[in-house]
């Protein structure tokens, strides 16, 4: 009996030992930060906003997709036919399994999600200076508008999400597509709010969204909706602000970082670790860099673009590099690029910014320059029959090119007294050669209604009523339980 009691007491003690660790099962989370513990300090807010900008520098947004959608599809640029995933954009043979089609949608919506997270959490933050708070809020609104602008140009009307989604409520993510008009209304609201941003920044804030950027993109949004008066007046505000100037050198305007002409740029720096999307370097250059210069040679200018420049136009040699010409101390040999193609110098950028090898160059990419603002003024005004205002704006752009050190004498004469339709053509062509390879061409052709005509003339199989828009990824159509309808023809 004694033994039994002794035994039982040992047993009880050990059982109690185990049971006494009552909080044995309460393990506080390690190495995870919960949303309750975030947005408490100024640096949290700045970090959250940086993550919204971060999406500008991704392969499936700007670094590859933007030019694949906007330039490869047009007669302006091409890719070697062996690169099948990109070549299908050249000849509009788009299938549901293309990585560039499938990767773009989620990148844009992640940008929007991050913006919505900031917009809903930032106002409630206590520990932050109000001026900084408002500025950060408006920066993020601009970016949200910018991402929606990309979506509406590429896909048409899309689901409008303006608040963080609570996934226990499926109506918040099974959202149908809004109309194009509704999306533009949201874009206009966001850009308008951002007009309150500072006009300029200094030091390490250079590169953030400015008031001028908001106005310029608002003007562009108006232009795309053919709201010509609004476009013209908003664009004039950018010019009138006096913040921006056309640089005398087209080279400097397209190669240098954060110049007086630049209104909004993707900021980059080489040497940060990681591959492509993980680093903060420029990953656009390496696609366009010829293989004999150590790049991938997958984005080249065409003969068609080459021929579009007027005689003596210095911008041709600043945009396209031909066989026998020099870049970064090397001469482009023949056979390096496919026949009748050229290297795209704007995308290669300033050689001092590094080779861009390993997708980590130091050059920026310019989304909006003052010369585009002038071209918008020209285009808006000609459409409302203010021919002289249009001609004046057009002249500003041509004048800069004409006075470039590399221009031929007598090149790019002043255009005046043209008929409306001839002026429209002249403005469109000027837009093409001034902004060549800056990831805009396809959307211009579409909004002018001439995409089919121009692209079919190049021998490509563009189907009207289908190919003006890109298909929404099939997996997203499938998972939407019927709320998302695919674009016609796909």
């Amino acid at each position: 009996m004694k033994k039994l009691y002794f035994a039982l007491s040992i047993l009880t003690m050990s059982a109690l030992l185990v049971l006494s660790c009552t909080n044995f099962l309460d393990q506080a989370p390690k190495s995870v930060l919960s949303t309750e513990n975030f947005f408490l300090s100024e640096s949290d807010a700045i970090a959250a906003v940086s993550a919204v900008y971060d999406k500008l520098n991704k392969r499936h947004l700007v670094n590859a997709t933007a030019w694949i959608y906007a330039d490869i599809t047009t007669p302006d640029t091409s890719t070697p036919s062996a690169e099948l995933d990109i070549a299908v954009f050249d000849n509009f043979n788009l299938g549901t399994s293309n990585p560039y089609l499938n990767g773009n949608w989620p990148e844009l919506y992640e940008g929007i999600t991050r913006a919505n997270y900031v917009i809903s959490n930032l106002p409630g933050m206590a520990d932050i200076d109000n001026v900084l708070k408002d500025r950060l809020l408006n920066e993020v609104k601009f970016l949200r508008g910018w991402y929606y602008f990309f979506l509406v140009q590429a896909y048409g009307g899309v689901p409008l999400i303006t608040e963080p989604i609570n996934i226990s409520d499926e109506t918040q993510y099974l959202v149908p597509r809004s109309t194009k008009e509704e999306v533009y209304a949201q874009i206009e609201a966001d850009f308008t709010a951002a007009e309150a941003l500072p006009a300029t920044y200094t030091g390490s804030n250079v590169g953030r969204v400015t008031s001028g950027a908001a106005k310029a993109f608002l003007a562009k949004a108006y232009l795309f909706q053919e709201k010509w008066e609004l476009a013209s007046s908003k664009a004039q505000e950018v010019v009138a602000s006096g913040v921006y100037q056309l640089l005398p050198s087209f080279r400097d305007a397209t190669w240098n970082k954060n110049t007086l002409e630049s209104i909004f740029e993707m900021q980059s720096i080489g040497g940060t670790p990681g591959w492509e999307d993980d680093n903060e370097g420029n990953s656009i250059g390496i696609w366009a860099r010829p293989t004999c210069f150590g790049g991938w040679g997958l984005h080249n200018g065409t003969q068609d673009l080459y021929d579009a420049f007027e005689d003596g136009d210095p911008r041709k040699s600043y945009t396209l590099l031909d066989v026998g010409e020099e870049y970064d101390g090397q001469v482009l040999p023949s056979g390096c690029l496919p026949d009748n193609t050229y290297a795209l110098l704007k995308l290669l950028g300033d050689p001092a910014g590094g080779t861009g090898g390993d997708a980590n160059g130091s050059q920026n990419f310019i989304f909006m320059r003052l010369s585009e603002v002038y071209l918008m003024i020209a285009e808006a005004n000609v459409m409302i029959d203010n021919l002289s205002a249009a001609e004046n704006a057009l002249e500003v752009v041509r004048n800069r090119a004409r006075n470039d050190v590399n221009a031929d004498a007598g090149a790019l004469p002043t255009l005046s007294g043209l008929s409306k339709s001839a002026l429209i053509d002249a403005i469109r062509n000027e837009r093409r050669v001034e902004l060549a390879s800056e990831m805009k061409r396809f959307y211009d052709l579409v909004r002018w209604g001439i995409a089919g005509e121009v692209i079919r003339a190049d021998g490509k199989n563009f189907i009207d009523g289908k190919h003006e828009l890109f298909p929404i990824p099939q997996s997203q159509i499938d998972i939407s339980q019927g709320t998302l309808i695919q674009n016609p023809g796909y």
């Binding site: 393990q27 949290d44 997270y117 004999c292």
Partner: protein, 1038 residues
Amino acid sequence: MISKLRGFSLHRGYGVRNIAKMATAAILFFNSLTAFSQSLEITGKVVDENNAPIFGVTVFSVEDSKFGTITDFDGNYSLIVPANSTLRFSYIGFQSQDIQVMNQSIINVTLESLTSQLDEVVVIGYGTTEKKDVTGAVSTISSDLITQAPVGGLEQAIQGRVAGLTVVQDGSPGGSPSVRIRGIGTIGNNNPLYVIDGVQTTGGLNSLNPGDIESISVLKDASSAAIYGTRAANGVIIVTTKRGRKNTPTQVSLSILNGFQQAWKHADVLNAPEYARVIRESRVNANTQRTANGSTDLLPLVPEFDNPDSQVSLTNWQDKLFRSGHIQEYKLDIAGGNETTNFSFSTSIRDEEGIILNSLFRRYTGRVSLDHAISEKLNIGATLFYSHRNSQGVPNNDIWNGALQSALTMPENFPVRNADGNFAAPTGGNAGIYGNSQNPVAQALRSDNSSPINRVLGNVFSEWEMLEGLKFKSMYAVDLTSSTSKYFQPTFAEGSRPTIIATLSQSSGTSSWWGFDNTLTYTKMFNNHDFSLVVGTSAQKESFESFSSSRQGFPEGNPEGLRYLDFGGQGSDLVSGSGGTATLLSYFGRFGYSYLDKYLLSATLRRDGSSRFTEGNRVGTFPSASLGWRISNENFLNKSEFLTNLMVRASWGKVGNQDVGSYYPYVTTVGFNNRYNYVFNGQLFPGAAVQRLGNPDLTWETTEMKNFGIDMDFLNSQIVLSADYFVNDTRDILLQVPLPQLIGQVQTPNVNAGNVRNDGLELVLSYNSAGDQDFNYSISANASFLNNKVTSLSTATEIIANNDLRGSDPVSRAIVGEPIGSFFGFVTDGLFQSQEEVTAHAFQEPNTAPGDFRYKDLNNDGVITGEDRAIIGNGFPDVTYGINFGADYKRFDLAVFFQGVNGVSVFNGLEYLTMNNVGGNKSAKILDHWTPENTNTTIPRLTWDDPNRNSRVSDRYVQDASYLRLKTVQLGYNFGLNVIQALGIKHLRAYISGQNLLTFTSYDGLDPEVTGSDLAIGVDQGIYPQARLVMLGIDVKF
């Protein structure tokens, strides 16, 4: 004797004094020898009741056990013992005998067996039972079967040995095969729970040395596994290691294995002239079609390919990449014991060169176990196991980066190295025509990665018989792993996508687990009632901590001596680190009862609490019960000579799974990551974003298991037959349900949603010949038939796996009503033979032409779109089986083991790659492509552009991968007494062993055994072919 020699020293040279000392020592030594003059040499033979010789019987002098030996293969022994010794004959499973040595010189002994096969002890959860009393579904594997295959890993060794246990290998040295018990129950972790000397773990088994294992019990149903509660949903494998035995003279065993392994198969690809012709023709065809469409943009033709026959095959890449790998293994075991203590010690080294260049696996292990009886009622024991392993090689089953994939897509026109000594690869404008292929030899040789892992498993326990029948056992077990890895990616210049910046990543992590189990066992027998009761608690804690760092930009030329972080570019630092802890607290009990050994009942109950879930969702209760009826003990069947056992069993129970992947799935997390950073005016700004959505309502998965079984034993286990039918329903499975990308790229939370059903039949049959002196044999076979079906998936109708093949649609998905990991794609319907056929069929693509695939219009809407896809197969086998044949004749022993799988499909991703890769080498099958002259074929026309997108994921690539393998053959010879005595040892066996000697399969890929994640089961992205091994071995016992 030794003490008298203490003053003797060799260092001082050979003076007279020293010679005197030496002489003294010699005399004393010889004196002691003469003490032996009173010894006898005894020989004899030990047999069992059937007069069959027993090999391995320990024969030793009770007075001084250093005089001992063991019987040889014929049962013979020979021993010199002092006169008047008592000789003891002892062997496990037999009654020991003591015989006094007088002056006889021959002592023959017949040993009586203690038990029959049915009384064999089987290890079950927290206890043992006799095999005949098992009412659940438990299978065992003995140590000689485990060591029969000359492989390095435990999982490989048990493949095919147990019905319902499927192992799929991955072919790489030191690789991780997938082990599944009774199918796949969940989308997450399907690994069974391994209990190794009390340590509970689910992975890292290639740290263990299979030679250390005494036995393995596989607990397949709920009644046997439920006592492990929330870790048991995928079944439990209990591993018991060797411990030595009391009252046994020390035995030293040495085992040496040496051999080679090679890939058993190479793929058939085009040679250089064929390649040139195929590329040229595909480009010409594309241009013809483009011209017909009015385009002037034509593909340039490669001038060298104008005369295809002038191309020369310079390199057979598979020959260069595969090699004969040398394997060697050395094992030393020492075990023994006296009346109170037994111990075992073992150490092993395995060094294995893989079948691919520059791949290898190395493992060193050391183990000590000790058991001591402090008193008759109190035992203590401890075990310590240490293992160091390391492996190196190129990625396996990786369609993007594998060297194997490069070997198949790199054309043969290239040499391995150019004249300047650098590796050759396609560069320049024509690189695309050559598929932008990488040089596989360069990839393999350049690979510089190593991940040494050090693991310690240990336990300390005590067992105390407090009262008669009442035992208290307490055990503390630990599992500590420390791993580091170093991966250097060098720069290289060859090829069209060279790497110009080198990267070094290093990481280090430790993970630890400890478990504290306390159980109280009570057994009581009276009249014909037999009771047993086990109650206990178990507390477990696991945690990990790791950090990693990397730098880019290393000195030119990648010098090996400078592959350290110090030499990487300043400012390119990338560091990260994390950690976590999870705990589990459980209470359990098992009650067993049997009456007259005829009616048996067993019931268990376990209650678990897990830290991974929030309060209120933490606790789960897992009951089980099983019944058995031994019909053969009923009066109408009793005393039957023929039918020694007939038992029917039924069981039911619930087990759980709490393995969510993250330790804190309930938290919505925000994170910083260099991926979110941005730069303003050249200055880096860190970014933070929401990473994962949490689910505070998350709780266990539960599996309800039912099992019905029948066991039949004839002629005293000469013939054994066993059948089990089971139905397992897994509910509330933990799923990351995919949501529309409108929510962003956050990781969606885990939810409890979805059910999966596994049901099937297992059969086991074995036959042991009655055996005579010279010849004995046995045959056993097992087969298991399994059906798997996803029965529901909450809101989603399907879950799509992440396994696209270089940008194709994902191949696999889980769909309600189909097995997990079904293949999904288009359905082909032959090739179009004429343009009329193209027009008559539903619209596919604008430029579809004769020779292209016709895809079925499944929804009859006249257009082939994404809606026209369907389930095209799945990777679940209909039946897996194993057949083992063992025989011994005189001194020879032979074991032959076949293993096979029938009725299984594989999506041949490697064929997909080599038929659709634009540019690059192709499968030789493409030579049978469609032309207007060659219309009777399944291979579509050659065209560079592929306007019809013949490269879609379709049933074209789904193949039958049924196979039968001659898995293991081992032929051994046991040397006779004369040789053994001459060498002064106790036993010597030499053998030759082969693994994967023959494979019968109609599958085209490199190997029909394809591992992968469970959601993507059966997709071959270029898996290493299994190695064919031939090894020579020697076992010596001292």
